[in-house]
Amino acid sequence: MTIHLTDADGSAVLKPCVHDYQVNCSNCRLNSVCLPLALEGDDIQQLDDIIQRSKPLQKSQHLYREGDHFQSVYAVRSGTMKAYKTTDDGREQVTGFFFPGEILGMDGISNNSHASSAKALETAAVCEIPFSSLEKLSSMMPNLQRHFFQLMSREITEDQQLITLLSKNSADERVGALMLSISSRNARRQLSATQFRLPMSRVDIGNYLGLTVETVSRVFSRMQKMEILRVENKEIEILDPSGLKNMANLRN
């Protein structure tokens, strides 16, 4: 798989992703997203010791399943994860997408077991952060636990805000909001906010947004026609960010 990095002049360049098992928190390029903390070298080492970096997940492989006991949270290092619930009639309901630097598994917090399942949309690497060790470590680094709860609360909040938006708004607004969300999450990890590749299928997008695949495609072509987006399969370029915000009804 490939990821996008922004050049000095703002244009996107493609670089191969190396699954580097040697990576640690101090040299991880995501640590500004994951750990915006003034941790000293020694503290980082200790944190690094509790974090487990497992083998990459293959496409469609599960990280955890609904009902699993909540023991750890996970930071996505590369690739994209999809969270979903299984409805009463056995169908999949997508509840979220997680990009590098983002933490997932927090839905376990309210009843101590995972409320949804998580699987890889493409080859992905994650860091596992066991909660019990984190608690032990926090007694030595009081800032750390607080930081994790801050991260968690931010994820939960963004999740809810998106769900709320999606539950009410028109198809244009929903697709627009998702594109803006992906764009701002890219920007957070210093990737291009205007040019990216969608890691998920139109089916997943439709499922997540509560729209049919046809509607998703129609919205994309409408956005193309209005010169808001350039869409080429999974490649997206945002041509008119303020037009997109208008469309998503997120102007304030």
Binding site: I109, T157, D159
Partner: protein, 478 residues
């Protein structure tokens, strides 16, 4: 929109249609408990049988599996509201919340060991103080502590509620509360008049509350509740009319009104309120009349004790079906018999016991730091108490009492045992507050504002105080 009759707001005299109710209100105005427990908290003692309680907890039985309700007391506030009589600590000191959370975590762990971690938590309420004094990370952390030590539910029927100070909250926090499992919110509105708000040091303009209400609704909270207070400084029929208009426009599912009792000698913050700005007793009675008439003509049902709900609200349905309960959280659906209170001064109702945590923060910290459960007061409920509790709580929740059922359940003859009490009630019956037959007591519509008066004859402790602190001045019944 239905509101109060025009003549009521344009004249300064008491309108004729309110005369009868107001005369009754004046006649029955007295001091009395709100009966969130029986025996009431002033009857608790330090020398209650805590060993018996712990021994009972160590036995196996239904109390190890039955549903449980949680109350968390979060005492801190950024600013003081002058009317407040709650156990609270006003501080902006950084780290206050952190110190408290550390103790709370330890208390949660100790209580979880004692009560077990398998009882389903059907209800939970965070009150204060100001629960949203905690920031988003601390709120998340506290919910995680609870989830790690108790069996929280993600079922739709759970009732997880939190009190919100509209001045401290941002939309992002509303989203977070929803995300970590809360499904009910109560807002401390008190009054919308700017002068009243200023006089009680709680300024929260309507134009800021309205968008907050929109946001709460858009996040899909199942129920929104407002707290209002009458009897505050500068309140009069005009300000109340305007406040009620605004409240009705926002249409909360539930409205709880509280009577402000001015007791500056007991609550130091109330000394900041100028006695001369308080509404005269007769005006205050009128305010209460306005609230009850205006809300009911706007479609709200008066379920009792100054609590109003929309007819489609679960509480209204529960009252019709006899599934309403009253405890320290006020009215709620009857889903769990036991209530565990956590945090400084919190009260638990578990099995045959009432237990109150230490009320002083420093002593509470000290006990927790010594790995001691911070239970310092309480009482064991006697057989007699249970009978009287049944009568009082049933009257307050269901607005009636089935005498035959009471006789069967407790093996008594109601009319002989409560001969004296019935005598007091007959005087109220003459004023059309309730009807008394051999089979039941029924609180009339007119009698609903006088529920406390109707219950007080059954309160054995009003005549013989058993608490180890001097009996308090209760807030006025009306």
């Amino acid at each position: 929109m239905n509101s109060i009759p025009q003549d009521l707001v344009t004249s300064t005299s008491i309108p004729p249609e309110h005369k009868k109710d107001m005369e009754l209100a004046a006649k029955y105005a007295s001091q009395g408990p709100r009966y969130t427990s029986y025996p009431t908290a002033p009857q608790f003692r330090q020398d209650f049988p805590v060993d018996q309680y712990r021994a009972w907890q160590d036995t196996d039985g239904d109390h190890k599996r039955a549903p449980l309700s949680l109350y968390l007391h979060l005492p801190f506030c950024n600013d003081i509201c002058y009317y407040c009589a709650c156990n609270k600590i006003v501080t902006r000191e950084k780290g206050a919340a952190r110190q408290y959370l550390q103790r709370l975590e330890k208390e949660i762990q100790m209580q979880s060991q004692l009560l077990g971690d398998t009882r389903p938590i059907t209800q939970m309420h965070w009150g204060g103080g100001t629960p949203t004094y905690l920031d988003n990370a601390e709120i998340t952390e506290l919910m995680h502590m609870l989830a790690s030590n108790f069996r929280l539910l993600d079922k739709g029927y759970r009732e997880y509620s939190i009190e919100i100070d509209p001045r401290t909250i941002e939309t992002s926090t509303i989203a977070l509360l929803k995300g970590i499992g809360f499904n009910r919110i109560s807002l401390g509105i008190q009054d919308f008049d700017p002068l009243v708000q200023k006089a009680v040091n709680r300024v929260q303009p309507y134009k800021e509350v309205a968008p907050l209400v929109d946001s709460i609704r858009s996040h899909g909270f199942r129920s929104l509740s407002f707290d209002l207070i009458y009897g505050l400084p500068h309140q009069d029929r005009y300000t109340m009319d305007e406040t009620l208009r605004k409240v009705i426009a926002l249409r909360p599912d539930r409205i709880a009104c509280y009577n402000y009792a001015h007791l500056p000698e007991r609550f130091s913050s109330q000394r900041a309120i100028d006695r001369l700005t308080l509404p005269e007793p007769e005006e205050k009675l009128l305010l209460q009349q306005m609230i009850t008439h205006t809300l009911q003509s706007a479609g709200y049902l008066h379920i009792g004790m100054d609590h109003y709900v929309l007819p489609e609200d679960e509480l209204a349905r529960a009252q019709r079906e006899g599934r309403l309960q009253r405890n320290f959280q006020g009215y709620s659906l009857h889903m769990a018999d036991d209530l565990l209170g956590l945090g400084v001064s919190a009260i638990s109702q578990i099995g045959d016991f009432y237990l109150q945590n230490e009320r002083e923060l420093d002593s509470y910290y000290k006990m927790i730091d010594q790995s001691q459960l911070p239970l310092t007061r309480g009482c064991k409920v006697t057989t007699e108490d249970k009978l009287r509790r049944h009568i009082i709580m049933t009257l307050i929740s269901e607005l009636k009492l089935d005498i035959g059922e009471c006789n069967r359940q407790f093996g008594i003859d109601f009319s002989t045992q409560f001969n004296k009490e019935l005598e007091s009630l007959r005087k109220m019956e003459a004023d059309d507050l309730l009807s008394i037959t051999d089979r039941e007591l029924i609180v009339t519509h007119r009698g609903r504002p006088f529920l406390r008066n109707i219950c007080m004859p059954f309160d054995a402790y009003l005549k013989s105080h058993q608490g180890d602190e001097s009996p308090p001045n209760f807030s006025a019944t009306l």
